[in-house]
Subunit: 359 residues, 2 copies
């Protein structure tokens, strides 16, 4: 399902390194040459190139790229060149530092990777950041937020006010604002922590009795608007993907709606958005990524961060399926949409990675 | 630090299998022969024996052993013969089914194993039970217990009543009893779930600023008797062992007591006991295991379950250190204590595993 094209006759690793070195040398940088090599090598080949480059030139290829390139093009080349597990570790680490907008990145990494891939990302996190991913995620649930949590369980806070997340200061006095923000963060983090710590069973056995009983539990909690209930989090964070799929099918059969429809009572509620992303990532990753791309491209001023992340992380995984979904949903092929919205080397690199013919 | 003795000249695997088969055949079983082989082979050798035995005799060695042996001797031979990760998976699975007495087994497995060993146990759990360990641990936090949890956060429940755990029915009417039991279970499970899901960083780097600030947080929560506070759980469940050690040293320097002393305000409180076990397993595993052995042996009617578990799981890890601790703390060598309390083949097997000279 990879969209990159690797030439039938791949040059030797030494040649690739030599060419890359050439692309960096002299006045200016030969971006086209960089793309023609790196965008057309698979993960194992890129890893080999990076190792050989370091041995030959005494410098990490990523450092050379960092010196030569800039902006969006630099970002996609660097992310792409990284080993998938290192890339995930880096993206996750960035996400732990900027909560508001990047919860979904953690959901993506926790829920669309295989158990083994998530584990490798956690190992790469150790190596690179000298601590654990769950440590950094959990750390954000400390201090003031804790008090707020107790408060929320005791006081009857109107949860429909969750959408104040986006503009609390305009509406409420300081105290109440921080309470509401705290509640949101705690909700989200209590979902994210077990998600990133999970090591799901990956067999396709399904327990139908359990699927029925848990579908009922989910429906009951959702009817009560107890969206952050521990049972909802437990099912989504610990059950195998096959089991969750069976449970959500039961949910639909028994109660009529897709669960995500029932989780959309308030489109501005950030916690519900994270919950829906979790469901989508676990059950239809290609649809989830199609939507991320759609929103990134249709945005007034493209969201290059999201576009780059999805292309770099999915090109070798399920980009073919994502392209299919994109075309169906937007009546325009993904490559044409990207070409319209981006330009220069950045555009060329994106198109090469999603398998555009001329790239 | 292993206490088993492997002969300088190990017979071939085929010979070992042949001898084992001989021990099972005819009238009666030759237990001495079984001990002389299995108790004197390391994990890799036992694994090899098990594989070859299955190939040669078309039956899992464990099944043959199960047919021939019984009671405590059977249990220790079976546990010992299992691969360490399979053994941990089995012990953990048993523990998820019998909560009251076996929370400590989950703490042991989560906190005294290396990150890699815990991971291998989680993988073995997938293979053997077709689901994940965290799934089974989390599942116990459902249903009625949830309601109770909300209640506990809102109602000012007297936490000193936690020791009613052991004899609630004698003191309180039904309703209150189930509330108290529920509170305890939820507390304990909310600690166990992140512990078994952890994949700790294992480097020895220590952040002293963090150690100081987290020691202060721990002390504050403990002073408030907020033992189940999320911060306490977060620090113990996610920080590296080196970092936790630094934090607890700071705690002692700054506030005068070992943290476990401050966690002993009520010796009958089951949650505090689990918390102390967690601290001990993370920082002084050999002292933790010494105490488990001491209590198992000194009990009126030896606790064979605990004795067997500790010997089978630690013989190849740190039994030498545990023996040292035991002798120091009890003024009697562990082998003499075991010989006094047990007998027959069970005694012989235990003594062989802890490296008793004649065994």
């Amino acid at each position: 399902m990879s969209t990159i094209t690797v030439p039938a006759q791949v040059p030797s690793v030494a040649d690739d390194c030599e060419q890359l070195r050439k692309a960096f040398s002299g006045w200016g940088t030969n971006e086209g040459l960089i793309i023609s090599i790196l965008a057309h090598r698979n993960a194992a080949q890129r890893k080999h190139i990076r190792e050989t480059y370091a041995e030959t030139h005494g410098e990490d290829l990523l450092k050379s790229l960092d010196k030569e390139l800039s902006q969006d093009f630099e970002r996609i080349v660097l992310l792409w060149t990284l080993d998938p597990s290192e890339r995930d570790a880096l993206l996750a680490n960035e996400a732990t530092k900027r909560w508001t907008s990047s919860n979904q990145v953690l959901v993506e990494i926790a829920c669309t990777r295989s158990s083994q891939e998530l584990l490798l990302a956690r190992q790469a996190y150790h190596t690179r950041f000298k601590k654990s991913l769950e440590e950094d995620v959990a750390y954000h649930t400390t201090g003031d937020f804790r008090k707020v949590k107790t408060l929320r369980n005791c006081v009857d806070v109107d949860l429909s006010k969750r959408n104040l997340w986006f503009y609390p200061a305009c509406i409420l006095p300081g105290e109440e604002v921080s309470v509401l923000i705290g509640i949101l963060l705690v909700d989200i983090l209590q979902l994210l922590l077990p998600l990133v710590s999970s090591y799901r069973y990956e067999g396709d056995e399904v327990n139908m009795t359990l699927a029925k009983s848990e579908a009922k539990i989910l429906h009951q909690k959702i009817s009560e608007k107890a969206y952050n209930d521990d049972d909802i989090i437990r099912v989504l964070a610990t059950r195998s993907k096959a089991q969750i799929n069976a449970t959500l099918n039961q949910y639909k059969n028994e109660f009529g709606n897709d669960i995500n429809k029932d989780l959309k009572t308030d489109p501005k509620d950030e916690f519900l958005a994270v919950l829906r992303a979790t469901v989508k990532c676990l059950t239809y990753p290609e649809k989830y990524f199609e939507k991320v791309l759609r929103l990134a491209i249709n945005k007034l001023g493209t969201d290059e961060g999201a576009l780059t992340r999805v292309v770099a992380t999915r090109a070798e995984v399920d980009m073919k399926a994502i392209k299919g979904e994109y075309h169906k949903r937007n009546s325009v092929p993904l490559d044409r949409a990207i070409a319209k919205d981006t330009n220069g080397d950045y555009e060329d690199m994106l198109l090469a990675l999603i398998g555009h013919e001329d790239a």
